[in-house]
């Protein structure tokens, strides 16, 4: 994603060191918020909206953020930075930034904002308090305005070390009714371990046979708990009450798939 407002910058409204709320005492993190405003808008701002998904920015050796968007961070990275574009900042806006590593929240920050009727970019950098490397794994970020989710995104840190060995990607998706396109709630997505087929599992369902799984929410959305290797041959089982189960034996994601991989699943009655 291009850094759309880079040419219009010049005004840094706020720059503050964040409070630390580390969930894991072994890993203490610190963060820094950066707000970049775009051109002034005509109308008054009443509702804050994200105009992009969350994206991640390149950081240099000393932890400074550049305007280059990255798809992953290499091993040894000491600072990661997430950002999103927004329309404006209404009165009372408080941006909450939450970082998670492999599904566990490790850092959050709450930053009240001054009202602004212009669009901009909200960026947040994260680093360890001791300046050490950011732990490798699947990182997720979510930006909220108070309790309303504005934008979220995921990225792999240290993916290069695992390249060729376990090039795993995040898999998410939406399950809908094929005829109505309505989301299906509580549908189950199960990926079995390599070498386990659907018949074996269904005859004797062992938790140890399941590589990863997920259940859809009311919007029919799911995110698999574990990243999936591109070259791995997993059996996929998708089931929902009243629908014909979908079984795909030895399904391979392949090298061409994007990370995160977004699946569109339609089930029939």
């Amino acid at each position: 994603m291009p850094f759309k407002f880079a040419a219009l910058l010049g005004l840094i409204l706020a720059c503050s060191v964040a409070t630390v709320a580390a969930a894991s005492p072994a890993l203490a993190f610190t963060g820094q918020m950066l707000l970049l405003n775009g051109p002034a808008q005509q109308s008054a701002c009443t509702t804050m909206k994200a105009t992009s998904d969350a994206y991640w920015l390149e950081t240099d050796d000393v932890g400074e953020v550049t305007d280059q968007v990255v798809e992953s961070y290499p091993s040894g990275t000491t600072t990661i930075a997430a950002a999103f574009d927004y329309n404006c900042l209404p009165k009372g806006a408080t941006i909450v930034t939450v970082f998670a590593l492999d599904g566990e929240v490790v850092f959050s920050n709450k930053a009240p904002q001054k009202p602004a009727s212009r669009a901009g970019i909200y960026s947040y950098t994260l680093s360890r308090e001791d300046g050490a490397e950011i732990p490798a794994g699947e990182w997720e970020v979510a930006f909220f305005n108070n309790k309303t989710l504005l934008a979220s995104g995921t990225i792999t840190v240290g993916g290069d070390a695992a390249q060729g060995l376990s090039d795993a990607i995040v898999v998410k998706g939406t399950i809908v009714d094929a005829k109505t396109k309505q989301p299906i709630r509580n549908a189950l997505v199960v990926l079995l371990n390599e070498g386990i087929d659907a018949e074996t599992y269904l005859n004797d369902p062992q938790d140890s046979d399941v590589y990863t799984s997920a259940t859809t929410d009311a919007r029919g959305k799911f995110v698999l708990a574990e990243p999936v290797e591109r070259t791995a041959e997993h059996t996929w089982i998708i089931a929902a009450k009243g629908y014909k189960p979908i079984v795909e034996d030895a399904l391979v994601i392949g090298d061409g798939a994007e990370d995160p991989l977004d699946l569109a699943i339609a089930m029939t009655k």
């Binding site: 939450v98 509580n186 629908y243 798939a257 699946l263």
Partner: protein, 474 residues
Amino acid sequence: MLSPRAAKADVGRDWFWRAELFVVLALFAFVAIVIAIDIFVQPALSGPWLLLVGLVLALVPGLLWLLFFYLQDRIEPEPIGHVARLFVVGAALGGAFGLPVLNDALRVQEWLYRDSATMAIGSLLIGAIDSFVIYAAVRFFIFDSPEFDERTDGVVYGTAAGLGSATIANLHFILASGGAAFGPGEVYVAEVALAQAAFGGLLGYFLGRAKLEREPIWWLAAGFGLTVLLDAAFHLLRGQIETGTLVFGAAGRIPSLTGLFLAGGLAVLVTAVVSVLVNRDIQRTRQGGARPPAADAVLGDRQANRVVVAVFALLLLIGLIGWHTTTNAMVLFFREGVRGAYPASYTLSTADDALLDVADPLVSGTRFRVRAFAGQDLAVVATQLAGERGASAAFYRVTEQAAAMVAGRDALRQRFAMVETGAFVGVTPRVVEGIDYLLIDDDRVVVVSLIADADSAASEAAFEQFVQSLSLAE
């Protein structure tokens, strides 16, 4: 000389067969237009508009057929009023009998896809009830009318009743779903209409011959049985070939057309076969080879009707026994001093530290577990469970605790809720609710647990039945 009942039995109506094929083609053309609009215009319908458009589209197949029939009626007078009445009767019987029995009483859709046995039983029940709706509409609302006097009349009225039944099923589908996607919804509506029209036409042929010729008492029942089997086979085949889709990336807008082609092919095939049979019968009548109805035809009709009703009752009974067997059957178990029975539709997991762990992983996600903890203090074990679940879930809370009796022993019953950990962003966390029964058995505490989705009341009823089945060895 022919009897008055068969006065027009040798009248051919070739236009009718052309009309049938024309309607099939017209329906395919209409579906193609709807899909094209869906792809190129991409109408963003929601709320009442989605529902309204869905309802209108659900009416199209039936109205198209009736409209074409009306236009033909101007060329060759036909009792359009009777045809329309059969359409309405088919819809009324389908709405008042067919849908409530299949959807509410038997809940066929919920267990249809469990395994191949339930698929066969469910398809048989669907076929029997669909066919009986058509049969009842024609047999009890037009069969005895003097207007039922041509060989094609049975096919015409049967098709009208089938389309009426299909239309009410489609309206129910739209209303229950709060609307349907523009393209895929119309494909489904057309598929149901074509299939029901075909079954109606086939059953109507048997009804027509039963009325206008002297047939054995089993003739009508054979036609009914054949229609049931064809309907069931259609559902089985459709279930095999029309599977869901899993696409990496954005879904395409072209819906699956396999079910529609299957239904369209069936409609064309039935029309062709029935037209050949009717024309052959007409030739036979003209050559004096047909057997006109007997003088006591009304009595014969009544007996034939009783046989059909008996066959329907038998099929329904077979289906109900099969349904009861598959949904209510229990499997006995005896593990380390605990005896009981769990639902046969659940699968046994042999892993884990549990005495018994059975789950319904693909339908409800419900799990029953029986575990044993060392000790004799229920409160301590309840705390142990809380610690275990609190560590693995994002949130765990016991919402209710009360004394209970299980297997003749005092027990502690507790209801709990927990939020499962999973993805951090992108999905709403899954809330799981459950029930534990804790009871002392010598030097151990046996814990019987239900783990289910928050809104699965049906699982709770099955679990209570499971708990009642338990006994502990003395």
